[in-house]
């Protein structure tokens, strides 16, 4: 099963290689990986997606937690969360009908044309992986010249009423930590 795992790590020399090295050394796979800064200069956020049966996922999480400079590991898969990735595509857009078809797909998917030439567009789209896959499938017959995708980033949903955390301490502490960083 596909899992989305979010890590807070010390922003130190070699952190990416420690995380990536753990996966390769133990034969796990990283499907996507995104790394970026947080509000705290000393802390980076890594979001990675991986797959495997439950025992493998459990080991991945435990091994990640064991890394000395990993502050927090959260498997977002089982909890309410929002996932997004971004894609940029250079798409054929000959004058006339193809150009109109691409534009209408852009409209339907709430994508954006960010660059225009006489016979092509660069289109930007954000969404979850399924939406992006669907968009790519629809554009493929028209002609995709180049594609660049980010990995997945994800965030826990904040409970609708923050005054009532429903006794769910795990979510609550996650929330406080997010606020701290």
């Amino acid at each position: 099963m596909r899992h989305t795992i979010s890590l807070l790590v010390e922003n130190e020399y070699g952190m990416l290689s420690r995380v990536a090295g753990l996966f390769s050394a133990r034969g796990y796979t990283i499907d996507t990986l995104c790394v970026g800064p947080t509000l705290d200069d000393g802390v980076s956020r890594m979001t990675l997606t991986t797959h495997g049966h439950d025992q493998i996922i459990e080991q991945i999480i435990k091994q990640l937690r064991k890394l000395v400079k990993v502050i927090k590991v959260t498997d977002l898969t089982e909890r309410a969360h929002v996932e997004r990735e971004m894609v940029m595509l250079t798409v054929n857009a000959e004058r006339g009908e193809p150009r109109q078809e691409v534009l209408s797909l852009v409209e339907i998917f709430r994508a954006k044309v960010v660059d225009v030439s006489t016979d092509s567009f660069i289109i930007e789209l954000t969404g979850n992986a399924e939406k992006i896959e669907a968009f790519i499938d629809l554009l493929r017959p028209i002609g995709i010249r180049e594609i660049v995708r980010t990995g997945t980033v994800a965030m826990t949903r904040v409970a609708a009423s923050r005054a009532q955390p429903k006794g769910n301490e795990e979510t609550f502490s996650q929330l406080t930590l997010n606020e701290k960083v």
């Binding site: 290689s17 000395v68 400079k69 990993v70």
Partner: protein, 565 residues
């Protein structure tokens, strides 16, 4: 006070109460060496003859004492030669802090002379590693390195020191305490799990307590014994756990696993409750996993959560320090006993184990003139009254010693269990002898492993480190030969090493007294004379060439399918 980085290192080691360090100099650590012999009164440095020897000596030091072993080597080849020793400490959870030289910061990444990416190379075989990039970071980094190495599940930590960092000056301030938001090992077990574990231990009809190296690391041997006695639990130790429970104790089952006792493996395999303390269900212990202790409920106590559920699913997982958790279990057992619970009667179980033991005890044939290696271990035990600190190398002699020496106390048995690194025994014994000058330290080694480490003869002579080297010499890579005999149709491909130096003459060339036994009748006298000789000594015992270690669970087979002879 302002001082250069090299001096900061010396002062930091002093703050960590480091008394002994094993090392080998080279260009990138010359600033450090320039300080080392100026402070010889506070920090004794042992010059080894190969970096691997420094790491194994530091590991032996740590294994024999529980203190953190410290090694110092230069950049590039110094560091790469140390890697086997680091990997060994990682697999056997030994606290080490390893200082490596590095090329100056402005040359890093330049393919400079004697440059190697040591933090990169050792990332997967250290608990953590550091590259110090500012001299101001040096003292706090060393503080953190020692903290990480010895807390939680202990392990090796590497600190890479660029040459310019050891030359630059900074104010020396050693942090008094340390707090890391990303690293906080759990010590107390979950009370609910502890209660469930104790209930299971009271009720079980066929329990086995299975104790690993983690119990020794945690200093939990007294608690292990107390729990076994209080709840009447037959107790087995892993290769790494030998000594955590006294071998002569009526509840002792000896060692389990590939070369464990028949009765031990049968007991484990037929148990209805297996209580693992500081052990990790390694493949050499379990054999074929799907056939391992199928009827047993598993209680798994480990400080490293990733060990729980890795190979075997735990019914009652308890994350925590073995000593603390066992104390919790003892208190909980007391509560439950006072509340009227009783320990299950287990006469049938003990009778069954006794029967297994009588059916197939450890066994070897005496053979008149020819020296049987098992006999040498028996005699070693008898003559040393079971009191020696014994460091083994890797192979058949290691298994015979593990089976037959009978370790009564923790930190009395040193070996390379996880990595199985030949060449470990002699330098490890050297480190142990430095740490424990009052104890008799014996290195039991094979002729193969000794040839991977005998450069350290110069070290033991130079510092008069009183290691007694006992070579179980069969002219073979014995364990390889045994597998070739049993599993490769007697095809002894490249395992015959009878072309070897005369070890007695070799010792004499280094200036070391040496003795030899070639006939069974000579063993006792030779051992007695050798062990009574002051200082380092070498004893070469020529044993039967093709003796096998039994029982043996073939790799990948189930415990119940062990070969008995």
């Amino acid at each position: 006070m302002k001082m250069r980085g090299a001096r900061i290192l010396i002062e930091a080691l002093r703050c960590e109460n480091v008394e002994h360090i094993f090392g080998y100099p080279g260009g990138a650590v010359l600033h450090v060496y320039d300080e080392i012999n100026r402070h010889a009164d506070r920090l004794k440095h042992y010059l080894v003859r190969h970096e691997q020897g420094a790491l194994f000596a530091a590991a032996g030091y740590a294994q024999a004492t529980g203190k953190t072993g410290v090694a110092l080597v230069t950049s590039g080849p110094g560091g790469t030669n140390a890697v086997t020793g680091i990997a060994n400490a990682f697999l056997d959870s030994l606290p080490l802090v390893v200082f490596t030289g590095q090329v100056p910061t402005h040359l890093i990444g330049n393919d400079a002379f004697q440059e190697a990416d040591l933090t990169g190379i050792t990332r997967s075989c250290t608990k953590h590693n550091y590259l110090v990039k500012k001299v101001e970071d040096l003292a706090p980094t060393i503080k953190e390195a020692f903290h990480v190495a010895r807390t939680g599940r202990p392990g090796p930590v590497l600190v890479d020191l660029p040459k310019d960092i050891t030359a630059q000056e900074a104010e020396f301030v050693y942090p008094e305490s340390i707090s890391m938001r990303s690293y906080r090992p759990t010590s107390h077990g979950h009370p609910g799990q502890v209660r469930r574990a104790v209930e299971a231990m009271l009720r079980a009809e066929r329990p086995v307590l299975y104790v690993g190296g983690g119990a020794i690391a945690a200093g939990a041997h007294e608690e292990v014994r107390a729990l076994a006695e209080k709840l009447n639990l037959p107790t087995t130790c892993t290769l790494m756990g030998l000594g955590a429970f006294p071998a002569s104790h009526p509840l002792s089952l000896g060692m389990l696993g590939m070369h464990g006792g028949y009765w031990t493996n049968m007991a484990v395999n037929n148990s209805d409750l297996l209580i693992s303390v500081g052990a990790r269900f390694d493949d050499r212990v379990t054999g074929k996993l799907s056939d391992f202790a199928r009827g047993a409920k598993i209680v798994h106590v480990d400080i490293d959560p990733s060990c729980i559920g890795k190979n075997v699913k735990a019914d009652v997982p308890v994350v925590g320090d073995a000593r603390v958790v066992l104390q919790q279990m003892l208190a909980e057992a007391q509560r439950q006993l006072e509340a009227g619970s009783q320990v299950a009667a287990r006469e049938a179980w003990f009778a069954q184990i006794g029967e297994w033991r009588r059916e197939h005890p450890f066994f070897y044939h005496e053979d008149g003139e020819v020296i049987k290696p098992q006999y040498v271990i028996h005699e070693l035990h008898r003559i040393t009254k079971g009191q020696a600190v014994v460091a083994a190398d890797v192979g058949q002699h290691q298994m015979w010693t593990a089976q037959l020496y009978g370790f009564e106390r923790p930190r009395q048995w040193l070996n390379s269990g996880g990595l199985g690194a030949m060449g470990y025994g002699f330098p490890a014994a050297m480190g142990a002898a430095v740490a424990r000058p009052q104890d008799l330290v014996v290195a039991v080694v094979g002729d193969g492993g000794f040839q991977m480490s005998f450069q350290e003869l110069a070290t033991v002579v130079e510092y008069q480190i009183p290691v007694k080297i006992l070579i179980i010499n069969n002219g073979f890579l014995g364990m390889v030969r045994q597998w070739q005999e049993q599993f490769y149709d007697h095809n002894y491909s490249h395992s015959d090493i009878k072309v070897a130096p005369d070890f007695v003459k070799l010792a004499e060339a280094y200036g070391l007294p040496a003795l030899r036994a070639e006939r069974a009748g000579e063993v006792t006298r030779t051992l007695e004379r050798g062990l009574a000789t002051p200082g380092p000594v070498l004893i070469d015992v020529r044993v039967a060439r093709e003796e096998n270690v039994f029982p043996i669970v073939p790799a990948g087979a189930a415990l119940k399918d062990m070969i008995l002879q």
